[in-house]
Symmetry: C2
Subunit: 236 residues, 2 copies
């Protein structure tokens, strides 16, 4: 096995074993390289790889530190995976969202604090305002869509679940989805689905939240495949 890979695994194992703890500082490059029996360049490549996966963090002029190792931190960057896949593959990521988001939304219903609930409302108001304009600022809508779902997921009580949900649809994926909503009323319908989820959260009703979240993801899936079979899920 290559020297760099060995160093990567060694550092990983040191973390798993508890020799290196979150926030702890590593020895300086020169010493650590010597201790591991490799050149500084080799060590640097290993550290760079671990930095890319958010296990380590380097601060120029200061040192190299172990990150918090929180799931949310380590799982981010995964969204790149979703960004790569089009067509049928994209459907697999939406399938994941359909499994996870209803659960997360239901879990968030009794937990999400009032201020964040209010913030959700403001995001919706803003999105509806943007949707009425012409031309539509898709990029801004994508950002609001992302904030809406992320805010809900972040209150599900399970950071792993929240992180995976967030990464199942990155910036590029969401942009593709919103750009793909060309049929008339598609944007309004999506926003109505958002509002339905919001109302369920406002009522602290987990089961309604779950169902409306499921309907929303399903709506997105069907709007992409052109299979939508009835007229929307916004009302009561």
């Amino acid at each position: 096995m290559g020297a760099v890979e060995t160093v990567i695994d060694t550092i990983k194992q040191m973390i798993i074993d508890g020799q290196l703890r979150p926030g702890q500082r590593l020895p300086i490059e020169k010493d650590l390289a010597e201790q591991l029996g490799v050149a500084r360049n080799t060590l640097r490549e290993a550290v760079r790889a671990l930095t890319a996966m958010r296990v380590l963090q380097t601060r120029q002029g200061d040192g190299t530190y172990v990150t918090s190792l929180s799931p949310g931190l380590l799982l981010d960057g995964m969204s790149f995976v979703a960004d790569l896949h089009h067509g049928e593959e994209a459907g697999h990521f939406l399938h994941m969202r359909r499994l996870l988001e209803p659960e997360a939304t239901a879990l968030a219903a009794p937990r999400i604090p009032e201020p964040d609930l209010a913030r959700l409302g403001h995001l919706l108001d803003e999105a509806e305002r943007l949707a009425d304009k012409d031309p539509v600022d898709h990029e801004a809508l994508v950002a609001l869509d992302h904030d809406f779902h992320t805010l809900i997921a972040s209150h599900c009580g399970n950071p792993v679940l929240a992180a995976v949900i967030q990464n199942m649809s990155g910036r590029t994926v969401r942009a593709r989805i919103w750009r793909g909503m060309t049929e008339p009323g598609a944007i309004q319908r999506t926003l109505a689905e958002h509002r339905a989820v919001y109302r369920a959260l406002l009522g602290r009703d987990p089961e309604r939240a779950r169902l409306y979240a499921a309907m929303h993801v399903l709506g997105v899936e069907e709007s992409l495949t052109g299979m939508r079979s009835f007229g929307g899920a916004g009302g009561e």
Copy 2:
């Protein structure tokens, strides 16, 4: 932004844009470094980071290639995240398994080919044989457990779902779980749960498969927290 990060993002973007396609070979280090305006060492650190996340693959004496970029490939290595977390955090990963494995098992019921179904049976036979021995070879049981769940998940029809499931419990996590099953009969009960899932698959019954899979993950969760409230789920 650092030069290395810039190079990483540039290469990523070239892949998203389609300039670099799966399997394609990159220019040699010297040329690519010159083209991107950085030193070879800097380029190497970027390539190493992308190699660590399975986006690129280098072959000494040959060149650097873009991988298949399949979700299964890109999402692996995520299991390291699960390996890091003990106690309450581990429960969050089990929660994920409880959401995902029942669905995957249900989806696999009508899809899994006969030969793999037979293989599942053999894995179970082998595990039951091992469980009766004394002392118990935990490591071998962990391997069989891993193969059992991985084989099922791989036939759910959604490679993303399969990959996430697989990474929600890596080697270290599974080892911890099986080592933690100290109460008498715990191992036999777990294997009985496996067999119940197997029987549902054998019957090509998605809903039974879903339920028994859910019961199994729940059993694992409760055996870890000592909350198990009744006597097992192996029978019919």
